[in-house]
C-alpha cells in the first residue's frame, strides 16, 4: 500500500506530460473525446484482425493511441519499415532480421506467442490417420507426423493413393499449403521444423514447398482461403494456432473445421521492433496492459499470463480434437543466424 502513493504521482506526471506532448505534437480528437495520437505499424497479416478489432482500438485509445496496421509477410517487412512506428513480425528470428535492416529505437518486445498449427477438416484428419500421417495423442490432440509427411512426399503420395479415400479424390500430392518461406515467417518456421525432422535434407524440405507451386506471401491469406473455400483451396493449411482459435471463438467452427499440430511444432513469439519513441511506448503497452493482453488472448494468442488464455481456449471444441494446454516438446524458436543460414540455403535449393 505504501508504495502506491509515489506510483500515482508518477502516473499523474506521465499523464500530464503526455497531454502536453500530445498538444505539441498535434494530436487529434479521439472517438471517445480524448486525445489520441495516430501511429502506423507494419504487422504480420494474422495480427491485422487484432488491430482492426474495435475493442482493441478502444483499449489503445484509452491510452491515447490509434494504430493503423498494414499487413505484410514478416520477412518482407525487412525492406518495408520506412515511416512506421513499429514492426510486428511473428517470431524472434524474424524480428531480429527486421531489426538488423532498420533503425530500432528500443529493445525488441515479445508481446504474445502462438505455435505453428495446421488448419484442416475432420474427414481429412481421418484420412491422414488411416495413412499413418496423423494420430491423436493421449491428451486428444491430433498430431501431424512431419517425418512421415516428408517420407510420403518423397514418394509423391497423392490423396488418391490413400486406400478408401472417398472424401478427397484429387490426384494432387499430400501437402501442407504454406506461404513463401522467403516472405513469411510461418513458412520459414515450417522450414526449420522440416529441416529438423529430415536431419538437414534440404532437397526433401524444398520439395514440400516447390510441389505447391506459387503460393501466398502472408499467413492470413491462405487461412482466409481455407475458411472460404474449404478443401477446394487446400486440405491442410499451415497457420498460427491463434488464427484457428480466433475463428473458432469469434465466428464459430463449421463444416468439420479442425486443427492439427505438427510434431514437432514450434512456438512463435510475436515480437515488436520499435522504430520510433512512440513505438517503444506502445510496444510496452501491448505487452503489459492487462486489457490488451486479454484481447490478444481473445484473438487466440497465448499470453504470458495463461489465466487469460485458458477461458478462451476452453471454448474451442473442434470435432474430436483438443487443443494442447501447453506446447511441450516444441523445437525452440530458432535464433537469427541459424534461421538466416537455413533460409538462404533453402532459397537456393528451391530456385
Amino acid at each position: 500500500m505504501k508504495r502506491t502513493g509515489p506510483l500515482i504521482v508518477l502516473a499523474l506526471v506521465l499523464v500530464v506530460a503526455g497531454a502536453v506532448a500530445g498538444h505539441l505534437l498535434g494530436r487529434g480528437e479521439g472517438p471517445g473525446g480524448g486525445d489520441v495520437k495516430q501511429l502506423t505499424a507494419i504487422v504480420g497479416s494474422e495480427k491485422k484482425p487484432f488491430f482492426d478489432d474495435p475493442a482493441v482500438k478502444a483499449a489503445l485509445a484509452r491510452h491515447g493511441w490509434a494504430v493503423r496496421a498494414d499487413a505484410s509477410g514478416s520477412r518482407q517487412m525487412v525492406t518495408r519499415t520506412t515511416g512506421y512506428d513499429f514492426a510486428f513480425p511473428s517470431s524472434k528470428a524474424a524480428a531480429e532480421e527486421v531489426r538488423r535492416h532498420a533503425d530500432p529505437k528500443g529493445e525488441n518486445v515479445v508481446v504474445f506467442s502462438s505455435p505453428l498449427a495446421v488448419a484442416t477438416f475432420q474427414p481429412i484428419v481421418d484420412l491422414l490417420g488411416s495413412a499413418k500421417l496423423a494420430q491423436r495423442d493421449s491428451a486428444q490432440v491430433w498430431r501431424l507426423d512431419l517425418k512421415a509427411l516428408v517420407d510420403a512426399n518423397r514418394r509423391n503420395l497423392k490423396w488418391t493413393d490413400i486406400p478408401g479415400n472417398t472424401t478427397r479424390p484429387v490426384a494432387q500430392n499430400v501437402l501442407v499449403a504454406t506461404t513463401r518461406p522467403e516472405d513469411s515467417n510461418s513458412a520459414a518456421m515450417f522450414a526449420a521444423l522440416l529441416d529438423k525432422v529430415t536431419g538437414g535434407d534440404l532437397g526433401a524440405v524444398a520439395k514440400l514447398f516447390t510441389d505447391q507451386g506459387a503460393v501466398d506471401t502472408t499467413s492470413e491469406e491462405p487461412f482466409e482461403s481455407y475458411l472460404r473455400r474449404g478443401t477446394d483451396f487446400a486440405p491442410m493449411v499451415l497457420i498460427y494456432e491463434a488464427q484457428f482459435v480466433d475463428h473458432a471463438v469469434n465466428q464459430g467452427l463449421a463444416n468439420g473445421q479442425t486443427v492439427l499440430y505438427p510434431t514437432p511444432t514450434l512456438m512463435c513469439e510475436h515480437t515488436i521492433v520499435p522504430l520510433s519513441a512512440d513505438g517503444v511506448t506502445v510496444a510496452k503497452l501491448l505487452a503489459s496492459d492487462q486489457e490488451l493482453q486479454r484481447l490478444a488472448a481473445k484473438h487466440g494468442f497465448r499470453t504470458a499470463d495463461s489465466t487469460l488464455t485458458a477461458p478462451v481456449f476452453a471454448k474451442v471444441r473442434p470435432g474430436d480434437a483438443a487443443l494442447p494446454d501447453s506446447i511441450a516438446g516444441a523445437v525452440p524458436d530458432p535464433d537469427y543466424d541459424t534461421q538466416h543460414s537455413l533460409l538462404a540455403r533453402l532459397e537456393e535449393k528451391m530456385a
Binding site: 498538444h23 480528437e29 473525446g33 502506423t40 474495435p54 493503423r68 498494414d70 499487413a71 505484410s72 518482407q76 525492406t79 518495408r80 520506412t82 515511416g83 509423391n156 497423392k158 484429387v170 490426384a171 494432387q172 500430392n173 513463401r180 522467403e182 516472405d183 514447398f209 516447390t210 510441389d211 505447391q212 507451386g213 506459387a214 503460393v215 506471401t217 502472408t218 491469406e221 482466409e224 475458411l227 472460404r228 473455400r229 478443401t231 477446394d232 483451396f233 487446400a234 465466428q251 528451391m350 530456385a351
Partner: protein
C-alpha cells in the same frame, strides 16, 4: 478552453458534413465507421476491373479517396512493376493475380501490402445445347476430356492470349497442370511431353483476344450474328461467363463447365507499391477497408459475378459447381522459368498458328520519324525487343507473316513462313525487310486491304486452320483507289478476317473505327502511345 474550442469546431464540421452528405455513404450498422483518406489512389490495373467503377465511386463518397484506374496488360504491368517504372506514376497495382509477378526476383521489394478483393476461377462456358450434347451438364469432365473433345472438334471456344491476359494465362496453367498429372506444380521439363495433348486442346480455339472484355464482346457479337463460324463457348473467368448470361444479350445461355480436376483462381489483390508516402498508405487502407466490408463484397458479387474474397458470405445460386461438388485449386508454377517456358511454348508450339497480314502505309507522309517508328515496331517483333512483353510478342514458330506495303497502289506482297524450329533466320529476314522499307507516293488504303483479303482467301484454300488477321497502319486519309463505300459493300463477300486498325498521324479516326467494326476487329491508338507499343498490343489479338 482550447479543447472545448477544438471540440466545438469539430462538431460544427461534423454537422456541416452531415447536411451535405450524399446518400449511400453511411456505413452498414454492423460494419463500423469508414476509414478516411483524402486525394487519389492511382492504380495500374487489369482492364477487366473497369466494371468496379460504380463501387469505386461509392468508395470515394465513403472514404474521400478517389481511385483512378489505368488499364494495362498483364505482362506490361508486371514489367512496369519489376523495372520500378510503375512507382513513378502509380500508387498501387490491381491485377487478377500477383502470382506471376511474385515469381520475378526482387518483385517483393517493389510492392507492399496486398488486399484480396474478389475471386473468380477460370472455367469453360459452353452454349447450353452444346454442353448437353457433350453430356457435360450431368457429368463434369476433366480438363483431359475437354482437351480430347476440343481436339476432335466437338466444340469450339474463345480464349485470350496467355501472353497478354491473365484469364488466358490461367487457363493455360490450369489445363497444363491438370494434364501433367504429376500432382505437383508444373516444372519446365514437363511441358514438352504435354505438347500433343495441349495442341489438341488449342485446336478447338477459334476466337482469340488480348483482353477478356474484348473477347466477351466479340463472342457476344458472334453469337448474335449466328454465322457459320459459330463459337460455342469461352474459356474465361466464371465472372465473365455469368456476366454474359446476366446481360440478356446472348441468344443462348452459357452452361458453366467446372472441370472436375479443378481450376486456377484469380484473387484480385489490390497491392500498394513500395515507397509511397504516408497519405497514400492512409488512402490505401481506407479503400482496402471499404472494399472488404461484407456489404460491399455482396455488391461486388451482385454487380460483377466475382466471388467474395472474405469468408462467411453465401454465394448466389448461379455459382457452381452444382450440388456442392468440389473445384480444387490447380497449382500455379512456382518458378519463373517454368511459367515463361509455358507462355513461350504456347506461342511457338501449342496454339493454332497465326496468319498475320500487315498492310503498311508507305506514302510520302510516312517519312522521317513515322517510318522509323514503323521499322522499330516491326523489328521489335523479330526478337529485338528483349523486354518481358517484347519477348512474348515476337513472331512465333509456325506463324505466317505477310507484308503488304502500299502507297499510290498496293505494293509487292512479301511472305515469311516462320518454321517450327530454328526460326531465327526467318526472323532475320523479316528484320531485313523492315529495315529496307522506303516511302513515297499516295495513300491507297482500300485497294491495299482488298489485296490483303485476296491473299488471305488464296492461302486459306490449302491451309485453313490458322488465326488470320490483318493489321492496317496508315497515317492519312485515302487519296488513291477505292473508298470506304466500296469496301463496305464488299465486306459481305470477303473472308471473315478481322482488321486491326491503328490510329496514327492524320489518319481518319472515324474510318479506322468503321473498318474495325465492319470486320470484327478493333482500333489501337498509336497517337498517344508509341507504334511499337501498339504493334505489341495487337499481338495479343493475332
Amino acid at each position: 478552453m482550447r479543447r472545448l474550442g477544438v471540440a466545438a469546431l469539430a462538431g460544427v464540421l461534423l454537422l456541416g458534413a452531415c447536411t451535405s452528405k450524399p446518400k449511400g455513404s453511411e456505413p452498414a450498422a454492423s460494419e463500423g465507421p469508414f476509414l478516411k483518406g483524402s486525394g487519389t489512389l492511382r492504380v495500374l490495373a487489369g482492364s477487366e476491373l473497369a466494371d468496379l467503377q460504380p463501387i469505386l465511386d461509392k468508395a470515394r463518397q465513403a472514404t474521400g479517396v478517389e481511385v483512378k484506374l489505368q488499364a494495362t496488360g498483364t505482362l506490361d504491368g508486371v514489367e512496369n512493376v519489376v523495372s520500378g517504372n510503375a512507382a513513378k506514376s502509380y500508387d498501387a497495382i490491381w491485377f487478377a493475380s500477383n502470382r506471376y509477378l511474385q515469381l520475378h526476383p526482387g518483385a517483393g521489394d517493389k510492392i507492399g501490402t496486398a488486399t484480396k478483393v474478389a475471386t473468380s476461377p477460370v472455367v469453360l462456358g459452353l452454349r447450353e445445347s452444346v454442353a448437353k450434347q457433350l453430356g457435360w451438364v450431368e457429368h463434369r469432365p476433366t480438363w483431359s476430356e475437354i482437351a480430347v473433345a476440343a481436339g476432335e472438334h466437338k466444340f469450339t471456344y474463345g480464349m485470350t492470349n496467355p501472353a497478354s491476359s491473365n484469364s488466358g494465362f490461367s487457363a493455360l496453367v490450369g489445363v497444363a497442370a491438370a494434364l501433367s498429372g504429376t500432382g505437383a506444380a508444373l516444372g519446365t521439363e514437363q511441358i514438352a511431353p504435354l505438347t500433343p495433348r495441349l495442341r489438341a486442346f488449342f485446336a478447338g480455339q477459334n476466337l482469340t483476344a488480348g483482353s477478356s472484355g474484348w473477347l466477351a464482346d466479340a463472342f457476344t457479337k458472334n453469337a448474335v450474328e449466328k454465322n457459320d463460324h459459330a463459337v460455342d463457348g469461352l474459356v474465361n473467368y466464371e465472372s465473365v461467363i455469368l456476366s454474359l448470361n446476366a446481360s440478356g444479350k446472348l441468344p443462348e445461355k452459357l452452361s458453366v463447365v467446372y472441370p472436375s480436376d479443378g481450376a486456377v483462381t484469380a484473387d484480385y489483390p489490390l497491392t500498394l507499391l513500395a515507397g509511397v508516402p504516408e497519405q497514400t498508405k492512409t488512402n490505401y487502407a481506407a479503400i482496402a477497408d471499404y472494399l472488404r466490408r461484407p456489404s460491399v463484397q455482396q455488391e461486388i458479387m451482385a454487380r460483377t459475378w466475382r466471388r467474395p474474397a472474405v469468408p462467411n458470405l453465401a454465394l448466389a445460386p448461379e455459382f457452381g459447381p452444382k450440388g456442392g461438388g468440389s473445384l480444387p485449386e490447380l497449382p500455379f508454377p512456382g518458378k519463373l522459368e517454368a511459367a515463361n517456358a509455358l507462355i513461350g511454348a504456347f506461342g511457338d508450339d501449342l496454339r493454332k498458328p497465326a496468319r498475320t497480314i500487315y498492310v503498311l502505309d508507305l506514302s510520302g507522309s510516312m517519312k522521317g520519324e513515322r517510318i522509323e517508328g514503323l521499322k522499330n515496331a516491326l523489328i521489335g517483333l523479330t526478337g529485338a525487343d528483349t523486354s518481358l512483353s517484347g519477348q512474348f510478342s515476337r513472331f512465333n514458330g509456325r506463324e505466317q507473316v505477310l507484308m503488304i506495303p502500299f502507297s499510290t497502289k498496293p505494293g509487292q506482297v512479301s511472305r515469311f513462313d516462320v518454321p517450327e524450329d530454328n526460326f531465327q533466320p526467318t526472323l532475320d529476314q523479316i528484320r531485313g525487310y523492315a529495315a529496307g522499307l522506303k516511302v513515297s507516293g499516295d495513300t491507297a488504303i482500300y485497294d491495299a486491304l482488298f489485296t490483303a483479303y485476296d491473299q488471305a482467301a488464296a492461302l486459306a484454300k490449302d491451309d485453313p486452320d490458322r488465326f488470320t488477321s490483318i493489321v492496317l497502319l496508315t497515317d492519312g486519309e485515302v487519296t488513291a483507289g477505292s473508298r470506304l463505300d466500296a469496301f463496305r459493300s464488299r465486306v459481305p463477300q470477303l473472308a471473315k478476317v478481322p482488321v486491326f486498325t491503328i490510329l496514327f498521324g492524320e489518319g481518319n479516326v472515324a474510318e479506322m473505327q468503321q473498318i474495325a467494326d465492319l470486320t470484327g476487329g478493333r482500333t489501337f491508338d498509336a497517337r498517344t502511345a508509341s507504334l511499337p507499343a501498339a504493334f505489341k498490343e495487337i499481338r495479343g489479338y493475332q
